[in-house]
């Protein structure tokens, strides 16, 4: 469903990605690991359509369509979702309003009628229960005053409600304690089906104890330098990234 071919990208003229190739099929869980500054989050943001990055070479196909030609909202409508590493706080916009408007805009794009407030409420309550989010978070301002863990759980809640076909989780594990990690993993695992592709971006192996990937890729200096099965993550945990081919300067960039 997703095919990234020879992707080069830069921010403010500085090259970050230098030829990334990756293919994700429905039902597969891929993990991308790598040191800080290697380009992990850049890849996630480019997939979602962040305006600050410039793609200088290569292409990305999502369900056969040229993803790079699509606006971020069109990518969301097409079934792509990225969970933010640092979810944004918005004053005066409630969680429930945000999510209902987001879902309705997706339904509208697909020619479906708007979901009624009652129906939406049922859906939301069910998903909130799964993510162990307290009911009062419905009416709270979007991410405002949420703890780090609450924000991350809220991201997964958004994913569950919007029901994408390809989900990209950008460092969803960062800043989570074990309990929060368990809840997030439960939400993600329950969401996964044979029709859904999942791309986990993480710095640590820890998350992969809870969400089992089919493939692990190591990205360094803007390229995938190693791919393998889940055992690769364990190797990295043990040996670090040094044994792969990074030069010392680039590691300092993080």
């Amino acid at each position: 469903m997703l095919e990234i071919k020879n992707l080069h990208a830069s921010i403010e003229g500085k090259p970050i990605l230098k030829g990334v190739n990756l293919k994700i099929n429905p039902g597969e869980i891929h993990a991308i690991m790598g040191p800080n500054g290697a380009g992990k989050s850049t890849l996630a943001k480019i997939l979602a359509g962040h305006p600050s990055y410039e793609v200088t070479e290569g292409e990305i196909l999502f369900k056969g369509n040229d993803l790079l030609e699509m606006e971020p909202e069109d990518r969301a409508h097409a079934g792509l979702f990225m969970s933010f590493q640092y979810p944004i706080e918005i004053h005066g916009v409630s969680n429930v309003q945000f999510l209902r408007d987001a879902l309705n805009s997706k339904r509208k794009a697909h020619g479906q009628p708007e979901i009624s407030p009652e129906e939406f409420d049922k859906l939301l309550v069910e998903k909130m229960k799964l993510m162990e989010i307290k009911p009062e978070f419905k009416e709270r301002n979007l991410n405002e005053g949420f703890s780090g863990g609450e924000k991350k759980r809220n991201e997964i809640l958004q994913m569950a409600v919007l029901a994408p076909e390809l989900a990209i989780l950008d460092e969803t594990d960062s800043g989570l304690d074990i309990d929060a990690m368990r809840i997030v993993a439960k939400g993600v695992n329950q969401f996964m089906t044979k029709d859904i592709g999942l791309l986990l971006i993480t710095h640590y192996q820890r998350l992969l104890d809870y969400i089992k990937p089919n493939f692990v890729h190591v990205i360094m200096d803007g390229k995938i330098v190693q791919s393998g099965g889940p055992e690769l993550a364990l190797d990295l945990e043990e040996k670090g990234y040094d044994w792969l081919e990074a030069s010392p300067e680039e590691e300092k960039l993080g």
Binding site: G49, H50, P51, F98, L162
Partner: protein
């Protein structure tokens, strides 16, 4: 696209057209003869002529305030016309007689005047170049005993009320612009709500500047007798001229025992060319309410999105014990606009309460300042104030300032002040977009979320309009 450019580009000002009407004007310039002539043309009683002359003489000794955080070229007061009226002024109460061009103007502004299309449950008084054109729903108001008419009409019909209250809240000689208004005001609205009457509908005045060289000096006086209630809204637009029009209005509100006045403004004067800053209205307005009676309440709500320069501090004098003053404000500046706006809450009575909620949004090269005074007099035991000032910046070239002044002379009073500054940025918009919402929806939700506490204070009929207006101001350059 970066958010720096979010608000750039020519914002389309859809009210910028000019209406071709035959008018009668006095020559430009100001002197005692002009004032006598204005008064004579309006056939005013002597007390009003004396009021005007006294103001004029005081004005000659005054100078423009210089403490304001705005910058504008010197105004030549002798190059302004102080009196313009449409030649075909209708007989009072007969809207059918209004110059059809003027009626069309109000239609284009979305203020339909014929019976079928009128705004439901809102009585409208139209003021065109400072002259009242007519009032809708006269009958319904008459039945309730509520008076909504032009101040010129009130001067003849209710001279004792006008004489008693005119200048009682904003005294002659209060400040430069108010004093000029007292000398030359041409028309405006008058509202009187008798004892115990709850106004059966929203009252509204729609102000339209049309003439290029006429100053707009309207005067509004609202009196709420004991235990009465009235909600009033004013709207403002002007054509897009490349010179500046001066607007120096005065609004006075009086609330007696247990009375309540809600006053809302949606101000969308032409704000000048967004790139060069050329043209636009200078909006120098004095608005003040006096909670004269016990348990009285005055609420100001303003949505200020227009004018090249805004200088405006709708205030409350909390004289009666237990009286309440409120100020809810959204001020949006973009292009080269400059706004210095806020409020004054003067606590004189015991257990008086005031609330100030100010939301400033600055974009492009604009300057947006909140300036507010909370003053608690020695005998105002138990007075309380809560102030919240939030600013939102869009782009890197605008500025937002907060100038809060707090003077407390009573140790039992309680004053709170909260302030915040945030930025609308690319990351926020991207977050919304990545969830499937368009950029326009994102701007709409962020801005209206930011202003929510103020918008919900507007009468229902206008809240949606105000929201649309805010979004429209931003959308022009977002698409």
């Amino acid at each position: 696209m970066s958010t720096d450019t979010l608000f750039r580009g020519d914002s389309e000002y859809k009210y910028g057209f000019v209406t071709d009407v035959e008018t009668e004007s006095l020559p430009k310039g100001l002197n005692e003869d002009v004032i006598r002539l204005i008064s004579a043309k309006k056939n005013e009683p002597d007390f009003l002529l004396q009021f005007r002359l006294k103001a004029y003489r005081k004005w000659l000794e005054m100078s423009e305030p210089r403490w304001v955080n705005v910058d504008y070229p010197e105004i030549d007061y002798q190059n302004i016309c102080y009196y313009t009226v449409p030649k075909h002024k209708p007989a009072l109460n007969r809207l059918e007689d209004v110059d059809p061009e003027i009626l069309k103007t109000f239609e284009r502004l979305g203020i339909p005047l014929d019976e079928q299309k009128r705004l439901t449950n809102v009585a409208v008084d139209m003021v065109f170049d400072s002259v009242s054109i007519g009032t809708t729903f006269k009958k319904k108001l008459d039945d309730a005993g509520v008076v909504l008419c032009s101040i010129s009409e009130a001067i003849h019909k209710y001279p004792e009320l006008v004489e008693k209250y005119l200048g009682s809240v904003v005294p002659i000689g209060d400040n430069f612009f108010a004093t000029l208004n007292s000398a030359v005001f041409s028309d405006g609205s008058f509202v009187y709500v008798p004892k115990g009457v709850i106004s059966p509908m929203e009252l509204s005045t729609y102000f339209r500047i049309n003439d290029k060289e006429t100053g707009q000096f309207e005067r509004t006086l609202i009196i709420a007798e004991e235990s009465s209630f009235v909600s009033y809204l004013e709207g403002c637009t002007a054509p897009a001229y490349d010179n500046n029009q001066l607007h120096a209005a005065v609004v006075e509100l009086i609330a007696l025992d247990n009375a309540q006045i809600k006053y809302a403004t949606v101000q969308n004067w032409y704000s000048g060319n967004p790139k060069t800053g050329e043209g636009g209205v200078f909006n120098f307005v004095t608005k003040r309410g006096r909670c004269a009676g016990v348990n009285s309440k005055i609420s100001w709500t303003q949505v200020e999105v227009g004018a090249a320069i805004t200088w405006k501090y709708p205030s409350c004098i909390l004289q009666g014990d237990n009286s309440v003053g409120e100020f809810y404000s959204v001020a949006l500046t973009n292009g080269r606009m400059q706004a210095d706006t806020g409020t004054k809450m003067i606590h004189l009575g015991k257990n008086t309460k005031s609330t100030i909620i100010s939301k400033g949004i600055a974009a492009d090269f604009s300057h947006n300042s909140y300036r507010g005074l909370v003053k608690v007099a020695p005998r105002a035991t138990g007075a309380r104030n809560y102030t919240q000032c939030d600013s939102m910046l869009v782009g890197a070239n605008c500025s937002a300032n907060t100038f809060p002044y707090i003077e407390v002379a009573n140790s039992t009073s309680q004053v709170e002040h909260e302030a915040s500054t945030s930025k609308m940025n690319e990351e926020q918009l991207f977050y919304f977009q990545s969830r499937g919402l368009s950029k326009e929806d994102a701007v709409n939700m962020i801005v209206n979320g930011f202003c929510k506490e103020v918008i919900r204070e507007l009468p229902l009929e206008f809240a949606t309009e105000a929201q649309k207006l805010l979004t429209l101001k931003l959308e022009n350059s977002v698409g």
